[in-house]
Amino acid sequence: MGVVYVVTSGKGGVGKTTTTANIGAGLAKMGKQVAMLDTDIGLRNLDVVLGLENRIVYDVVDVVQGRCRLKQALIRDKRFENMYLLPAAQTKDKTAVSEAQMIELIKTLRPEFDYIIIDCPAGIEHGFKNAIAGADKAIVVTAPEVSAVRDADRIIGLLEAHGLSEPHLIINRIRPRMVESGDMMSVEDMLEILAVELLGIVPDDDSIVTSTNRGEPAVLDEFSRAGQAYRNITRRLCGEDVPLLDLSEKDGFFSRLKTLFAGR
């Protein structure tokens, strides 16, 4: 039976879809059976980031409304035959699917896959509630910005209220130089407020822009720093003990991170 993760953040633009795509592709590369589910109905992106946009025939709304079978809507990835995407509809809105339908859908997917990764839309309304309805565990993505951390805090509170306590945290787009000069919130600053388990930190990396535009997840690029961070995150999800990525050429930041990791 598979584990169902929802990737959420509250704030838009912090990297939910990129994180979903990279964790999904990372797990698939490790040989796991993976399904990714885009719940951002009306503003779908996951298919683009995975480079599968031109293969969509049916979507999640067609499935729950009985216009097609689940197997017909699931798109097999072009790189991994053990990775599938259930795309969102683009011409509908969030109310086209209900929480009960989502739970039912995930119940059908669960026996077929090792991991089901749900890409949650921004916000805390209907779309958020749909996305978390069938999830076992939550991954909260945030960026080193005060507003993103505020929203992550709010989301963690809402997740707890819906029975998804102890979410994992991914801190995205860290820029070590700016942290060192005191111009950016540090990992410690963010953990002090959010007080949840850190799953990983992802450095700000130009190659992410290229890879998302090309539809090639960075996790598959051996030379990408962000890709390395996502590979580590995937291994941690599989239960391996992987130290946090060395973000800096200088010792200071790394030794601080090491103390942080050892202190967990």
Partner: protein, 121 residues
């Protein structure tokens, strides 16, 4: 999302958790928080508020007009403190100190003052 704490005594509510952004506690009496109060969280109490953690959110003590109500926290870094009908916020642009000590906010001559928390014997 309004959280009602457990009843500790007849006039004090106990909140044994960290209050996150968007969470709100209302009580006619005192409120004791065992955890932090994060930015965006709110406590409205008829009596005093004690936070055994870091207070970063908004607190209103003496919300029904009690001017003797106080706000105490192990680390006092509030967004805003309100006592009875008086509102105050930390001065703009002040750097945050490295070491924090327990502090208490109370009304003196119609102004909120922050003092080091001293145990009265």
């Amino acid at each position: 999302m309004v959280i009602t704490g457990e009843t500790l005594t007849e006039d004090t509510a106990l909140v044994a958790r960290t209050l996150r952004s968007g969470q709100k506690v209302r009580s006619a009496g005192n409120v004791l928080v065992l955890g932090d109060v994060n930015p965006g969280a709110e406590i409205i109490a008829g009596g005093c508020v004690v936070v055994m953690g870091t207070l970063r959110g908004v607190v209103h003590a003496g919300a029904e007009g009690d001017e003797t109500a106080t706000v105490t926290a192990l680390t006092l870094l509030p967004t805003q403190i309100r006592i009875a009908s008086c509102i105050t916020r930390p001065p703009d642009g002040q750097p945050t100190p490295d070491v924090y000590r327990p502090e208490v906010a109370r009304l003196k001559n119609g102004e909120v003052v922050i003092e080091k928390y001293v145990v009265s014997k």
